[in-house]
Symmetry: C2
């Protein structure tokens, strides 16, 4: 059996929110075009036909709630995402043994509440954060309660997803990144930077039981 522990989905209601509220046409197109991200019946059929030995731990694809809505709206977006992933796990427990909660990281008290709800009531087995929270580094003191609660209270791991905008050019005189560099090279770089900040800021000293899962097998949409 192979367990893919960092697999993305996008619950249909979250995709609808993305289409309605995103100001980034590029990511709406990218996510809409990736049918296996949101057509979960098709995904299950594919798994049953071609990948019988694969299990998928579900996480939300980008953008995270805090990049899609302000602090008043992001908590609802996180609930929509987590309810949607919990439902997939209930419906297809064989294929999807677990999911990981997304949080509204621009509203920390709501993020802590949603963490408790998603883990306590929906059965989430961890939380997902991005390598930056709307541009801010993860060792910003405001975010420590999230790491602390996940680690010391819930004893779950933290899945870290790289964020780098496709619009971010690799050279200052260019309008955008070429050849998918922003993703294939830029995302692992963001993960390295994010982890370096967590290590050198001493977060593993503050929270000795902290566990972080990084990933990113990128594909380029030519």
């Amino acid at each position: 059996m192979k367990i893919d522990i960092f697999n993305h989905v996008m619950p249909m209601r979250y995709l609808e929110m993305l289409k309605q509220h995103s100001k980034d046409a590029g990511i709406v197109k990218r996510m809409t075009n990736l049918r296996m991200l949101w057509d979960i019946e098709a995904r299950v059929a594919m798994l049953r036909e071609k990948f019988q030995d694969v299990r998928q731990v579900l996480t939300l694809g980008l953008p995270p709630p805090e990049l899609l809505g302000g602090p008043d709206f992001s908590p609802e977006l996180a609930r929509i995402a987590n309810d949607g992933m919990a439902e997939m796990c209930r419906k297809w427990p064989q294929e999807f043994p677990a999911f990981v909660a997304s949080l509204p990281m621009n509203n920390i008290s709501a993020a802590l509440e949603e963490m408790d709800r998603a883990i306590g009531k929906l059965g989430a087995r961890g939380i997902q954060i991005c390598t930056s929270v709307a541009g801010r580094p993860l060792d910003d003191a405001e975010f420590l309660p999230v790491f602390e609660r996940a680690t010391n209270h819930h004893d779950v791991a933290i899945w870290m997803h790289p964020v780098r905008l496709a619009s971010r050019a690799d050279y200052p005189n260019e309008p955008k990144s070429k050849y998918g560099i922003w993703q294939v090279l830029g995302c692992p770089f963001k993960t390295r930077v994010g982890m370096a900040r967590i290590v050198f800021s001493g977060m593993f000293v503050t929270l000795p039981k902290l566990r972080i899962i990084t990933h990113h097998c990128a594909r380029v949409n030519a």
Copy 2:
């Protein structure tokens, strides 16, 4: 015998130019503090005492001529750098079997002339370029004659040095990079991006004999 093929020096006259003309106080301080970069007699003494089996192929440390002077001045800066490195090789041929020429990349006709002079008259065994030319990518058509001449006319390799400013923050809300991330993680990232551009723009198809040497064992000055 160990041959370090990507070792930096800074000829004293180039260091003086750096002190006089650089607008970046940080790099002046960094380079001035690295005595083994410009006190070559002390370096040779160190090599003879502690590293008898090491040979060093010399290249210029940052900044390159085009980041220190405009197109009217950078050719002189490149000549100062190359004359200085050639002299080190003449004086200590055992320790320094070869050097690699720096070029004024913001003045391409002068860069081609200096390449010819440094290789033909001074005995340079290659050229050094940075991963960007004052912010511009290396697959910019203007730079192709430099790659073409080094490869097809002189048949020498191209040493590629990463450039990333210490002032470049890792997160947009911060004034500068922390923990040396810009260098230890940022420089290898710049090398990857620079090589990706050369590969995907087809430069190895245009110039099948093109050879590029990348490197960067970074140290952090705490």
